[in-house]
C-alpha cells in the first residue's frame, strides 16, 4: 500500500497506515527522496500515529530515510509514536538515535520551522 505524501509549503508530510509492510517502507524511502529533490523541500514529517508496531526494520529504515534526506540538505522528524509503541521500542532496545521525534503534526511542523529558521 502506497504511503500518501502531501506537500505543505516547503515541507512534505508522509502519513503512514497501520498495515505497513517492509516493501511499503522501502517504497516510501524512494518516494520521499524523489519528492524532496523534485520540490526542493526543507523538511519532511513522517507521521506514524497509525502505526501499531515499530520493529527493528522500521527503525532502521526511518533512520536511513533521515540520513538520505539530510544529504539533500533537508530535515526529517518522526511524529506520532504511540505510548505503547514507544514502550515496546525501548524494551526491544530501539532508540532511534540521531532521528528527531515530536509528539504530533503540530509539534513536528514547529520543529521543522525552527530548524529552517536556524539555518542561514
Amino acid at each position: 500500500m502506497e504511503v500518501p505524501i502531501l506537500k505543505q509549503g516547503r515541507f512534505l508530510i508522509a502519513t503512514i497506515q497501520a498495515a505497513l509492510s517492509d516493501a511499503d517502507l522501502l517504497q516510501l524511502r524512494r518516494a520521499l527522496i524523489d519528492k524532496v529533490i523534485h520540490f526542493r523541500s526543507n523538511g519532511v514529517i513522517i507521521d506514524v500515529t497509525a502505526l501499531d508496531v515499530m520493529d527493528s526494520f522500521a527503525t532502521r529504515t526511518l533512520r536511513d530515510i533521515t540520513n538520505m534526506i539530510r544529504l539533500r540538505g533537508a530535515d526529517t522528524v518522526i511524529v506520532g509514536i504511540q505510548p505503547e509503541v514507544a514502550f515496546a521500542m525501548v524494551q526491544l532496545g530501539l532508540t532511534m538515535e540521531g532521528v528527531a521525534t515530536a509528539l504530533d503534526l503540530e509539534e513536528g511542523l514547529e520543529h521543522l520551522q525552527q530548524r529552517a529558521a536556524g539555518k542561514i
Partner: protein, 135 residues
C-alpha cells in the same frame, strides 16, 4: 490443558510479517492483554517473523492461548527449516540487539516476553518459543 484458537501464519513474504503481528495483536486482545502488552506481543512477533524471512527464507509463526493452573497467557512459536544458528550464546548476548539491527534482536524479544526458549540445529532449522502471561 485445552488448546484454543491455534493460529498458524505461513511466512513467505514481508506482507506475512504484517499479517502475523496483526493476528497476534487480535489474539492477545481476545485473551485479555492490555493495549501495551498486546503491542509488546505484536512487536515480538514482528521481529521473530522477520528473522525467519531474513535467515531462512520461509517458515511459520504459530500462536495460541494457554492456560495453566488458572494463569492465562499466549504462546508463540516461530519455526523455520533454515540454516540454523551456529552459536546460540552469541545470538542471545546483548549488543546484538541494538538499533543497528545487526543480528537477530533476540535479547530484545526476550525482554518483551515472560518466557523464552530457543532450539536450533545447524542445517536443520530453528524454533523459538515465547510466552507471555496475564498479570
Amino acid at each position: 490443558m485445552p488448546v484454543l484458537q491455534n493460529i498458524v501464519v505461513a511466512i513467505r513474504s514481508d506482507g506475512d510479517i504484517v499479517s502475523a503481528r496483526q493476528q497476534g495483536r487480535s489474539l492477545a486482545a481476545a485473551i485479555g492483554f492490555t493495549a501495551t502488552d498486546a503491542t509488546l506481543i505484536a512487536t515480538a512477533i514482528s521481529e521473530l517473523a522477520r528473522n525467519i524471512l531474513m535467515y531462512a527464507g520461509q517458515g511459520e509463526v504459530m500462536m495460541h492461548r494457554a492456560e495453566i493452573s488458572h494463569r492465562k497467557g499466549i504462546v508463540i512459536g516461530a519455526r523455520d527449516s533454515g540454516p540454523g544458528i551456529r552459536s546460540i550464546e552469541d545470538v542471545l548476548r546483548d549488543g546484538y540487539s541494538t538499533s543497528g539491527g545487526l543480528g537477530l534482536g533476540l535479547p530484545g524479544v526476550k525482554r518483551l516476553m515472560d518466557e523464552f526458549a530457543i532450539e536450533s540445529q545447524l542445517g536443520q532449522g530453528t524454533m523459538v518459543t515465547v510466552k507471555k502471561w496475564l498479570k
